[in-house]
Amino acid sequence: MEKFKIHKGLVALMDRSNVDTDAIIPKQFLKSIKRAGFGPNLFDEWRYLDHGEPGMDNSVRSLNTDFVLNQPRYQGASILLARENFGCGSSREHAPWALLDYGFRVIIAPSYADIFFNNCFKNGILPIVLDASVVDGLFQAVAANEGYAFSIDLEAQTIITPDGKGIVFDVEEFRKHCLLNGLDDIGLTLQHVDDIRAYEERRAQEAPWLFN
């Protein structure tokens, strides 16, 4: 996983609540057995006018020019500002894979669905939670200013706006540590092999039917 220290990028808006993982990456693309290549189909049903299927040449499909990510001013955006309960629905990790493959490294929203939130950290995406009122203010600022970009400093847990204002955010210490260092969870857990073995030995006595 790529380390996350400081990220500077253009901000795009996703102005609807309860954006679900079926919208982020529709089911027909989940048939892939790979982790990469989902970016061209991020928000497929909103982004294109025709019905997308795996294997299509997306470069020749007609774009829905009304869709926010198709607007010229948001090309190259790497920070997504969103509304409540972003990423609700299924557990598909294809949703953060698609966001990452498209180029998003940071999402900012008032709230997220639990599984999606967790999946983001596993892929080097930083999902930031801010108060709904703060997010609302940022929506207005981004909409009013083309080229609006943030600098996000994970170590300092701060979002720097173009006017130099700092917005502090919370992040769990362990998740921050893993993101900053690009750590592989499995490697970390396997440092505790003895603890896992000891637990299993104890449980096999207490509840042997779990180990049949």
Binding site: E45, A207, W209
Partner: protein, 472 residues
């Protein structure tokens, strides 16, 4: 010291290690695997040269991609015409063979939807932690287990370590006080709960469902309720163990036997919240107030009683919510204030991990018996949750009832719940569906989903529009 909730007990029994910041290493007793969310995890193991931690903790089956059309020329395997889908199922088969995981392959009678087959086999036991790369893993909480969905990175983590890195959720109790009325099912109860708490109401919580209305449900009914905990935002839903739980588990292939059975039952009887256990949040709903439910919009919280009307965004004071309602009405092709029972359907789907068990099929068959699918309904399909459910239904003659009424009787799988296989809605088609999500495009691009119980779906199929099943 205050008592413990059911969730506290399940959590505490599985903590391997607690870090200073409160993050825990949680032991996972059972891991269910299907074709969609596992290939990248197995690939990750191979690339890192890692082995499975405990092979027998895993159980696999293909379900999302499998065709549900009847077998011809000796097996459904020949029926996956989509090469991308076929490769995914073959990849699961190959991964399970390579790593030694028990898999109920497509031609095995035990194959089916992962959340149907595991309880059916006794592979889900009270007191277990159980995970799967699928959000509806919350289903298994119906047996007094701690069960939730995970992403593919965590699938790989569980395969390699038998553990997850977790932080404990908060405790929520949703109590259905008093009995529900006749004709009101588990599906109506859970839709009413989601209508009450909203799709994010349970975010950050583990929900215990309790109260007379829940205790009166069968284990299969409790599975329907826990299945949709995720639609209320909670990763895990659960119900305390009682005699029904124990009776359900006894004698199933993976259930303990003899002395182990006696010992297991003794511990399982402790799997309930203590009387003085503190909950962070409590929601109480009067069972008698719950009517048969129908969703009208593009989120499961957009739900009303069958005797109600499509709500009017003009009556909604919250601007963001009103905008969401307007967008949903446009997508669903509905006018505000339309009576629910005047909405015609094009298709009916009875199936999914929410409602494809034998009791669901029986409830739908009672309504379908002696009736005919309405002329305006292009397709009404029944998709059993597993090969064993299908066989049981056929022993009871339910297949004949459905076929005589004009329903299609299919092979087991996820089918039109998420339309990864050939079963899907065409743009603009409206479906009475017993599944769990009415998101835009969920059952096919442009498709319009109304979530209902199996009896309500059957009633809509034979009348051509939504109707109160209690009038049948």
């Amino acid at each position: 010291m205050a008592g413990k909730t059911l969730y506290d007990k399940l959590w505490d029994a599985h903590v391997v290690r607690r870090q200073e910041d409160g993050t825990c290493l949680l032991y996972i007793d059972r891991h269910l695997v299907h074709e969609v969310t596992s290939p990248q995890a197995f690939e990750g193991l191979r690339l890192a040269g890692r082995k499975l931690w405990r092979v027998t903790a895993n159980l696999a089956t293909p379900d999302h991609n499998v065709p549900t059309t009847p077998p011809e020329n000796g097996g459904r395997a020949q029926g996956i015409t989509d090469p991308v889908a076929r490769l995914q199922v073959e990849t699961l088969d190959n991964n399970c063979d390579e790593f030694g995981i028990t898999e109920f392959k497509m031609d095995d009678i035990r194959q089916g939807i992962v959340h149907v087959i595991s309880p059916e086999q006794g592979a889900t036991l009270p007191g277990m932690t159980l995970v799967c790369g699928d959000s509806h893993t919350s289903t298994h909480g119906a047996l007094g287990a701690l069960a939730h969905g995970i992403g593919t990175s965590e699938v790989e983590h569980v395969l390699a370590t038998q553990c997850l890195i977790q932080r404990k959720s908060k405790n929520m109790l949703v109590s259905i006080d008093g009995a529900v009325g006749p004709g009101v099912t588990a599906k109506d109860i859970v839709l009413a709960i989601i209508g009450e708490i909203g799709t994010a109401g349970g975010t950050g919580y583990a929900i215990e469902f309790g109260g007379e209305g829940i205790r009166a449900l069968s284990i299969e009914g409790r599975m329907t309720v826990c299945n949709m905990a995720i639609e209320g935002g909670a990763r895990a839903g659960m119900v305390a163990v009682d005699q029904k739980t124990i009776d359900y588990v006894q004698g199933r292939p993976y259930a303990p036997t003899n002395e182990q059975w006696e010992a297991a039952v003794a511990t399982w009887r402790e799997l309930h919240s203590d009387d003085d256990a503190p909950f962070d949040h409590v929601v109480r709903i009067n069972g008698a107030d719950i009517q048969p439910q129908v969703t009208w919009g593009t989120s499961p919280e957009m739900v009303v009683s069958v005797d109600g009307r499509v709500p009017d965004p003009a009556q909604q004071s919250d601007v963001v919510k009103a905008d969401g309602m307007r967008a949903a009405l446009v997508y669903m092709g509905l006018e505000a204030n339309t009576p629910i029972n005047e909405i015609n359907i094009d298709k009916a789907f009875i199936g999914s991990c929410t409602n494809s068990r034998i009791e669901d099929l029986r409830a739908a068959a009672v309504v379908a018996k002696g009736r005919k699918v309405a002329d305006n309904v292009k397709l009404a399909m029944v998709v059993p949750g597993s090969g064993l459910v299908k066989a049981q239904a056929e022993r009871e003659g339910l297949d004949t009832i459905f076929i005589d009424a004009g329903f299609e009787w299919r092979e087991p799988g996820c089918s039109m719940c998420l339309a990864m296989n050939a079963d899907r809605l065409e743009p603009g088609e409206r479906c009475a569906s017993t599944s769990n999500r009415n998101f835009e495009g969920r059952q096919g691009q442009g498709g319009r989903t109304h979530l209902v119980s199996p009896a309500m779906a059957a009633a809509a199929a034979v009348t051509g529009h939504f109707v109160d099943v209690r009038d049948f």
